[in-house]
Amino acid sequence: MAQITESVPRSSNKPKSAIGALFRRLLRSRTGMLGLVIVVLVTLIAIFAPLLAAHDPAKTDIMNRLVPPFWLDGGNMSYPLGTDNLGRDVLSRIIYGSRVSLLVGISAVLLAGAIGIVMGLLAGYYGKAWDFIIMRLVDSFLAIPSILFMLIILAVMGPSLMTLILVLGGTSWVVYARMVRSETLSVKERDYVRSAKAIGALDFRIIVKYILPNVISSFIVIATLNVASTIIMEASLSFLGLGIQSPDVSWGLMLSDGREYIATSWWVATFPGLAITITVLGVIFFGDWLRDVLDPKIKD
């Protein structure tokens, strides 16, 4: 009998720290860890850009234009990754460019997420007219080629960092709205939501305390992965001349500048391209790992 009393649920042994448990699981996933390291590294580079960059990214030096990277003939250690057609240091420009990429990538996703979550919750929770109107709006956004839409808005408003964020965020919210709506539809039928209605909770409380926390994990996963595609989108728009304008730097703009010299001075376009690839890969690895961890069906 003594044994029986001892085998009562022993969940109280250690106070579990959720973040600690997450971190232990992160250590077990190699790609997840690699993703995290890359994301943290790029973030640190962006934050400490002025300390890390040896040169002013906008400073031109015609005497030293198109200097190759240090390991090639004619290269030297003061321009480790060479210079571009105006003699600007490629490494310093990449370091500063990370700021724009991350800022645009994260802000646009946050903006899109905020719009998408609100729209999705309204459509999913209230249904009927709300659902009809919001979902037709979503459909019409999906029907317009988003790149065309962005080009028109950027052309009208004039390119700047702010418009870039608004345009990228304002066109991609539909994805989140659809996802949050469908999750809301399934969560609101659960018994615990009915129990909230039974105690007389107001709609606002039910949405914020019952629906939102139970749909947010899917959102986090999609949002993380979309940071990657937004970084690429920013690069594409800057490449087309509709994004960041000189003297500001972004990786997309650097690609665009280097395009003409790709045959003779490959390094001008290649290194910013590599920076984009590595960052996006890092974010994707991290997002994939997050998806595995937040999926309640996969428990350790």
């Binding site: 969940s11 109280s12 659960r190 129990s195 039974a198 105690i199 007389g200 305390k209 019952y210 926390p213």
Partner: protein
């Protein structure tokens, strides 16, 4: 057994109906109406436990949700004391919910996984602005002790508990507002048999201590036998028989109740009896049979049963039934009719 004479009516349901419109087929052109609850009349007396039983799809859970105001009735009235819940506006209904609470079937899906035990139990008090801060915490701990949970479990999450303990959390949450009536929607059927007994005992004790009225919904008669004072049997959205517990078990008058009781196995190998098993499946509530809804499966059905719907009436004191051929004197008077 004249319960009605002594006690006050706390909930009364009159001609309650809930129909669901379903559209299907190409371009949603075909419309079918599912008559989940189709004309219910019953009373619940203060302090009693009314059991409601029936097969899946008979509308018993819908009835529970209608009583709680979680669903809007298509037709009919639900009186709580003397106010009609069905005619209330949203805000008045929200306030009235203080008196009517629910315990759900599945303790794994009825507790928000992102809230702690303390939050879950205290939430009704917060929602109605009754308590906050220290008083709230004290009240929650009092409720936890009342249902057999311990104070140190205050900050735990539901997933750290077993099914029985979770059901205790659900019960404490339902009790927080000092309700008068609690609808137990299959409150124990998801639990192990040994845990079921514990929870039923807890519910019994709480009923005595707090003067509660229960509407206990279940799919089998044995589940409600120990806790109910009166039992109602539902079939296809209608009440077919309603009587005191002992009366119903000893003297079932409706062929359906009779068959349900017959279907209960008796744990004695020496005791074997001829089962009068009812044949067939429960018909679809979207296309119920004509006349008496039970006639296609009834061994006593006659032409009258096919054509005329039997009236729900009090055939014996406190014994209601809807049948043309009640089994009033079982052994002699009723001869199975030829179909």
């Amino acid at each position: 057994m004249t319960i009605s004479a002594e006690r006050e009516v706390i909930v009364e349901v009159r001609n309650l109906k809930k129909h669901f419109e379903m559209s299907n087929g190409f371009l949603k052109k075909t419309k079918t109406t599912v008559r989940a609850v189709d004309g219910l009349n019953f009373k619940v007396y203060e302090g009693e436990t009314l059991g409601i039983v029936g097969e899946s799809g008979c509308g018993k859970s819908t009835t529970g949700q209608l009583l709680l105001g979680l669903m809007e009735a298509t037709e009919g009235e639900i009186y709580f004391r003397s106010t009609d819940l069905a005619s209330m506006n949203k805000e008045a209904l929200r306030k009235a919910r203080k008196d009517l609470q629910v315990i759900f079937q599945d303790p794994y899906s009825s507790l928000n996984p992102r809230m702690t035990v303390g939050e879950l139990i205290g939430e009704p008090l917060v929602v109605h602005g009754i308590m906050r801060g220290k008083a709230l915490r004290e009240r929650v701990i009092e409720l936890m002790q009342l249902v057999g949970l311990r104070e140190h479990q205050y900050d735990r999450f539901p997933h750290e508990f077993s099914g029985g303990q979770r059901q205790r959390i659900g019960i404490a949450r339902a009790l927080a507002l000092n309700p008068k009536v609690i609808v137990c929607d299959e409150a124990v059927s998801a639990l192990d048999v040994s845990i079921q007994a514990q929870i039923l005992n807890l519910l019994n004790r709480l009923q005595k201590e707090l003067d509660l009225t229960y509407v206990f919904i279940a799919h089998g008669l044995p589940a409600v036998r120990h806790i109910s004072d009166r039992i109602g049997v539902m079939y296809l959205g209608k009440m077919v028989e309603l009587a005191g517990r002992d009366e119903l078990f000893n003297n079932p008058l409706h062929p359906y109740s009779h068959a349900l009781l017959d279907a209960v196995p008796i744990p004695d190998p020496k005791f074997r009896k001829e089962h009068e098993l009812i044949e067939g499946e429960i018909p679809s509530p979207s296309n119920p049979p004509s006349g008496c809804r039970f006639h296609p499966r009834c061994p006593y059905a006659t032409a009258k049963c096919r054509e005329e719907e039997p009236e729900y009436r009090e055939v014996l004191p406190d014994h209601f039934i809807a049948c043309h051929h009640p089994l009033l004197d079982e052994d002699t008077s009723i001869v199975p009719a030829t179909h």
